[in-house]
Amino acid sequence: MVTALPGDQPPVVMRHKDRYFVHVRQGGLFWVATTTADSSPFTIIEFLNRLSALVKDYCGVLNETNITENFALIYELLDEVLDYGYIQTTSSDILKNFIQTEAVSSKQFNLFDLSNVGLFGADTQQSKVAPSTAATRPIQGSREGGKSEIFVDVIERMSVVIGSNGVLMKADVEGEIRVKCYMPNCSEIRIGLNEEFSIGKSQLRGYGAAVRVDECSFHQAVRLDEFDNHRILRLSPSQGELTVMQYLLSDELPSAPPFRLFPTIERDKGGRLIVYLKLRCDLPPNSLFISPCVFNIVVSLSQELSSPDQRAELRPESRAVVWNIPRFAGGTQLSALFKLDIPDLSSASLLEVGPVSLSFELPKLTATGLQIRFLRLSPIQPSQSQRWVRYVTHSDSYTIRV
């Protein structure tokens, strides 16, 4: 039994005697693989992620009870997925042919139970879009009818660094298109992207403002024969979740960054640190609400907060002031004034204040401007089938230096 591991080992891989442990955390569970050879941690981590996705596809929800309830199914899955340490396949389509055990589900699906949504990959931030029970449904359940549904999610993560002089120093967007399909008799999906979508710096298409990315990679099930000319992705959907396309835009945003900060930091006569922050949202007015925003002002001073003017709290352990803003309308402006009592405040201490980090979620918006032009299913699906196309942009690391 491994009870404790020395602290000087790199994360990700842990060693105990001659055995190496690689783990990931998914759905609140640790997925651990062990190896004694010089194997590839990339393979192992990718595999553990796929495995957890597979178990989720088969069992519906990832949690401890569900795992114990379905242990026979998971044994069977593992047996097919791994043979003597060689990964055979992680495609739920292929595995369907081999798996005999039916998933056991303890919970009745409840439309109002949103605790396991996680559609956008963010556990902490709940989506305002009504989720469907299908999202947490075992894929095999759909064999016996049920609602046929398809979800296409465009998820983007922004990382932005704005310098203290207001200059945009770095702006990257990572994005992906995820498809979750619960349509047993759908043989092909065609997803049309903006026609002016272009890859790389040189290529420009169409007349309007180009939607541009630098790098683009596709799932191997995607057929790209119509992509070059018409920007259409064709794929035969497998039951379950699939990341169809991943893309990356670096060092350039098609529009101004969504938030600007105007800070003033000074020392008053009483030796207090006065931090005045004015935050502006440059998104189109009246179009958006930004749901919960957390502003981390990393103030490297561990002192008492004398009079907080806003809904804010001081976190001494991380030496930060956190300012929570539940909603923030586009085109508006908010401000906050913080006074911090700090003994021995010197002018040099001012150097240590900052930076300000923002975390936010922008629904119905993509930073790159990527849109799904259409979603066609063939053969034509019965009318009660539901299609969901959703966009969201998260902050990955949005930092404003002061």
Partner: protein, 879 residues
Amino acid sequence: MTDSKYFTTTKKGEIFELKAELNSDKKEKKKEAVKKVIASMTVGKDVSALFPDVVNCMQTDNLELKKLVYLYLMNYAKSQPDMAIMAVNTFVKDCEDPNPLIRALAVRTMGCIRVDKITEYLCEPLRKCLKDEDPYVRKTAAVCVAKLHDINAQLVEDQGFLDTLKDLISDSNPMVVANAVAALSEIAESHPNSNLLDLNPQTINKLLTALNECTEWGQIFILDCLANYTPRDDRESQSICERVTPRLSHANSAVVLSAVKVLMKFMEMLPKDLDYYGTLLKKLAPPLVTLLSAEPELQYVALRNINLIVQRRPEILKHEMKVFFVKYNDPIYVKLEKLDIMIRLASQANIAQVLAELKEYATEVDVDFVRKAVRAIGRCAIKVEQSAERCVSTLLDLIQTKVNYVVQEAIVVIKDIFRKYPNKYESVIATLCENLDSLDEPEARAAMIWIVGEYAERIDNADELLESFLEGFHDESTQVQLQLLTAIVKLFLKKPTETQELVQQVLSLATQDSDNPDLRDRGYIYWRLLSTDPVAAKEVVLAEKPLISEETDLIEPTLLEELICHIGTLASVYHKPPSAFVEGSRGVQHKRLPATANSPDASSAAAVADAPPAVIPSQGDLLGDLLNLDLTPTTTGPTPAVSTGIQMGAMDLLGGGLDSLTMIDSVWVQVWVPAMKAKGLEISGTFARRAGVIQMEMTLSNKAMSVMTDFAIQFNRNSFGLAPAGPLQVLIPLSPNQSIEVTLPLNTVGPVMKMDPLSNLQVAVKNNIDVFYFSCQYPISILFVEDGKMERQVFLATWKDIPNENESQFQIKDCHLNAASSKLQGSNIFTIAKRTVDGQDMLYQSMKLSNGIWVLAELRVQAGNPNYTVTCLLWVQNT
């Protein structure tokens, strides 16, 4: 009812109850019972007592139940080998089942049961399954061969399974190909010399075709296998690269990394001036950048690999500096790795950007990260000279914050900056001295003391400062004590009048009151130096220090090469060769990069050799020279570079090479590598020319505790193109305390590079433990060839034709002609003529070097005078 109930039963009569249920007539009940058994097994309860009952359930047409029973068998068969035999019949029967799923299941399970009796029965079914019509069965059988090999390698060979497995590489189904490749690679690893994976252009072609069709995991097996292949020439290398590059845009990072490994390895073969080489470099950057948008765990692993790639080929990512800027929400281990790579990529072009970032990082919250950022600023200053001034002023700004650990780190790096750029930034010393009191870490205290001692003449109160440290001398760490001792001695030598008392105090503290031998010894040395010869002491203690070199933490080149071959594996995360952390025979093989492209990169090699002398010749520099070494014995043809070698060699021969003429004695055995420096291997030897063959006569002694095998030798390029004419003949393993004498014949057709001194030879010797490097000098006489006797007329004509600048004259002292002449003869120095002028004997001699240079010499001997004068002329034959 759900399956979780199986985990909850804890009653005492449980086994008994299960037994009854297992023997039930109802299928459903049986299945439930087996599930309960497996559940108990999973949580670690011993349910082996139920073995016969569970095996009884094996004969069923319910696949789900069968799978569960097999699961149980895999777990308990080994502990119950006698009972396991009961299952054999069903296994064999199942291997013939019309359902391919059952056939595959049976053969897969049998392979996992490590019981001899079962293994015997496995052969026949396995043979059939390897030729099964269903690819699912074939791919399972392919893996089964690897399993069987692990249990009983001999059996697999005897049964001819390896050949069948090889045939599967040409299978029509890509999944079968992938599994066959994986199985063969694993088997081949345990037999390094078996040549099992006989990779040739045809099989490579098949693999590349299968690569496009198989699953992502199969692609990894195939790419890893490709990485072990060495292409015949650069064209083949390029065509493989072209077919592998599309993998770089795969969504699975493991596929990407395996592809990167193949490309990094095969790139070695491509000439750098090739257009394709540039294209490939450009293509490698985006996938590496993309890896940095994965989850932190993958990012960390990716960064460790990028660190290696950047050290080997910095040009790939030189424009991608920005992606390594840290994000505020990166975990600390990702941040630290990113910092490391930022420094490696720092150059004059991007230094402003990097510094601006580092300055931001230095005010963050996390202490470890801030420390490393401050250190990074110092490293920037040392690496990019143009930025040094800005770095220093940034560091000074940081010192102003008075944050304790920032100040300490800053002082440590400023010390290094002083050592790199002496007499440039000493104006900051005053600022540093202000912070003396806040230093509480040994490293920072030691650095500060060093600075005070080194620049004592510019610090007015240096004696007071050092005295303040002296008060708590015995509480300081050794590092600080040593530094303080040296600093006070320096101070004394600079300002002897005021500090006599101080130096006596420290010397007595170090020598009398300390029980640390290092400190005591250093104290005594200073004491005696100062008391016997203060001038000498000054020369020793205040000697000019060599500058520190730029990159201090680079991975040693041979290790780096090996690690590049292991990109994407644990070795690349630990930055250690697999043999260092993987037990057993696997992975002990040292992988090497293929030799460089056949157009030798002469300019860069010369640049390495002519490295600025100001830099400390650390071990790394020597290794740099040997970087191009390939440790397999090569039999290269004559290189065209020889003619250029002659021109450059000519004058130097006169300069110093002939000094070694006086050392003709062939008995000149030297210890080249002491055992301490080569993990127990001692190499001593000498050079000789015997019957027209140059020989390196070596004695290898094993002074370690373990047996040494697999010796090989390789020379770096050298002035006369000396190269081994054959492999190093150490046929038997060298036991501990055993010595062996080896004679290695040499030829002179190897690559040529001017060395300094001319007769310097850098050698790499490899054995099963490691690779060791040493350099030695050979007597120039071994290069004199047998047909060096020139015709008298030619000699005369040539003597006149040789221009004056090719002439050199020197004296040989204390020599006796009689003794000398026989030696000269034996060394292929031929006397052409002799005459006597004015009581002086004039001897005219000729010799010819292996690279075609003639040396004509005139030896003037005055009777009774043991000092001879030699006039040498060099002549390069134009042929």
